[in-house]
Symmetry: C2
Subunit: 413 residues, 2 copies
């Protein structure tokens, strides 16, 4: 009780936020997301593109409705996180684990090439090609820039594939598998760049441990879960309280996400694993059917939140500083796209449309921003370099959905 | 971007909360809510009782898993608020507006008696009957105590009626109508007690204005909404994006709740009105069907949150101070129950089971706590008096669900 009670029902001010205002922001996010999603679909683009645009408009650099800082921002963030967890959970539920294993080697190869090649391209360009931002601690800066190019946003691609009804294609399986592996590799890269940012030496043992924990968690969770959960859910389904199956499935997804994070892996890997595990239960049809509307409310909050982090002032060509940033960002974006596009050819033994997989790996989404933000806070990336990375992330995130849609529109190979 | 990005995906610490820990707390809340809900049902009690018990156990005075203060508490609170808004929205959707109007006078009479009688009983007891806590600013204290007795928690009763499948009975309509009117009257009382707490004089004009705004908002919203929304939703349904009907319905409920609050009315009145309004659309079946699973996830968070505000240490009979508090709380609780029970006979012209309506009005839930908390903060209520109110709120909240279930179990009059 105590401090909390005053905000429980009638009045509303609690923990520093005005609850009515928070709900109003949420209302704006939901309305704008669906409105722009609809507009995107009407002009032949995936709905998620519209949701990202809605986020840009509601963000701090435009209308300023979605807050960037403070308790209310933390609240929106938590709901956005809930949205991406539910999305990955849903995708896990829809994933055929046996098929995933079959394309496993292809996904692994795609993921690895998609980390090494973009990193190399970014590093070499920044270190060895003279450009307007050369100078300073160039080696560290080049490593950071390379790191931001390695990310893949599984959220964006998965959502587009799901919107297009292509989750059951060979390409989708390879991409989702590779994107999940990329998230695991991302954790390793994150620990490396954090070490560099802190000015410490990188230890091979530390890197190996991070990798082992991240991979180990996923493997152990899926192995134990696929054995235990079908039995547990056969008991849960005998409970009488309403929606117990749904509530326990969501609780499992959130719990496993939290455990994954605490074990040194990533939240979204945990909820994806939860989906994979529950797809082996006898009740997975009901679960999927009931989870969908819940995910439908929260997923758009995630994409609007990602869009709202875009800084529009970087795009003003009238500003000379913006022009120089734009020029370098153009080169980096090209490298970012080429580096990921090439991954389509990383698994020559597997039959799939190479360009579709390549394009599916392009969007950096929020993951690239995290690396960049660490670099900026540590003073390794200048404001201008941070701007370049931001533009690259924006461009790759916005270019992939329409490209994927156009490619799938052309039918199978 | 900026401050927000570091917590977007992989790591997790943001705005002062550890997101993984927050999801873990959420997992505990959901699992405990359904587990104790199931236990309650198995021993013949309504599920909501189990959820309240789960809250007591998870709360600060027992396991301490649900936090009472800080950003994480604010987050849980926001989700709990979302839960009660969705519950009231769902109940509004299921409510037949014409039937509500028909029982309107009965509800009004029940609500008014349920405010005046408990207030009078509480005031007279505290002011004129000598007891262990007599002394001090007794008139102001007596007014506050009386005020805490006037509240009705529409959430608790509505949930029980809904769980029992009795939302379509005459009794349910009278209770829900009266509870909503009680919330409006509660706003008026809140403004009066806040004025008293601030040491200012009460102005009849101020009271009248609060009443007008609260009632006016509900009437205007429903009148305009019932005209405009069916036409608007006939357009919405022609949109192609997935779940647009659901997302826009929820956005409407949250938006109207926020507007209600900003207009000086209450959040839950806004979302109830939103439900009433959308029950007039051609799509209300689909909306109801899709809103249900979403509400099913968040409603338990509300009841667990209410339960978590219970202070178990007040119930320790080995403590002499607790014994004296318990004794006075026993008397106050009796007055609280009698005062509301009598409301069943407040509308003699209407045919319904009087004791069912009386019992349905008994639970004070979170609303009574809000009044008490204002009194405590202003120094008008001592810690002991606050303890008395807390016990009264707990007892009335816990006694009503099993009583209602038992009464309905005995069949119609």
């Amino acid at each position: 009780m105590g401090a909390g009670a005053a905000g429980l029902g009638l009045t509303g001010a609690e923990g520093g936020i005005e609850i009515a205002h928070f709900f109003l922001v949420l209302t704006c996010i939901l309305i704008a997301a669906k409105l722009f999603g609809e507009l995107a679909e009407r002009i032949g683009q995936p709905a998620v593109l519209g949701e990202l645009v809605a986020g840009v408009l509601l963000g701090a650099s435009a209308l300023g409705i979605v807050p960037a800082e403070g308790t209310e921002a933390a609240l929106i963030h938590a709901l956005a996180e809930l949205g991406v967890l539910l999305l990955l959970f849903e995708i896990g539920l829809e994933t055929d684990l046996r098929e995933m294993f079959r394309v496993g080697p292809a996904s692994l190869s795609v993921a690895c090439v998609g980390v090494v090649l973009p990193f190399a391209l970014g590093y070499v360009f920044w270190r060895y090609v003279p450009h307007a931002m050369s100078g300073g601690a160039i080696n560290t800066a080049a490593i950071f820039l390379g790191a931001t190019l390695t990310a893949t946003s599984v959220g964006i691609t998965a959502r587009v594939l799901s919107d297009l009804g292509r989750m059951n294609t060979q390409e989708a399986r390879v991409i989702i598998g590779a994107a999940v592996i990329d998230d695991v590799l991302g954790l390793v890269i994150l620990s490396v760049v954090s070490t560099i940012a802190a000015g410490a030496a990188i230890s091979a043992l530390g890197v190996l441990r991070t990798l082992t924990v991240a991979v180990g968690f996923l493997v152990v969770a899926v192995l134990i879960g696929r054995f235990a959960m079908p039995r547990l859910f056969d008991l849960v389904v005998r409970m009488r309280v309403r929606y117990v199956l749904l509530v326990y499935s969501v609780a499992f997804a959130l719990g496993l996400a939290a455990l994954a994070d605490l074990a040194g892996s990533a939240l979204i890997i945990g909820s994806f694993a939860a989906g994979l595990i529950l797809s082996g239960t006898n009740q997975f049809d009901t679960i999927e059917h009931e989870v969908r509307p819940v995910a439908a409310i929260f997923t758009p909050i995630f994409f609007v939140s990602v869009g709202s982090s875009v800084n529009l002032s970087l795009l003003n060509p009238a500003d000379p500083a913006a022009r120089s940033t734009l020029a370098i960002a153009g080169v980096i974006t090209l490298l970012a796209i080429l580096g990921k596009l090439a991954t389509g050819w990383a698994a020559p033994w597997e039959r799939f449309r190479r360009v579709v997989v390549g394009v599916g790996m392009v969007p950096r989404g929020e993951v690239g921003l995290i690396f960049a933000d660490i670099g900026r806070r540590a003073g390794v990336l200048s404001e201008e370099m941070f701007g370049v990375v931001l533009l690259m992330v924006m461009a790759t995130t916005f270019v992939a959905p329409p490209a994927l849609k156009a490619l799938f529109g052309r039918g199978a190979e």
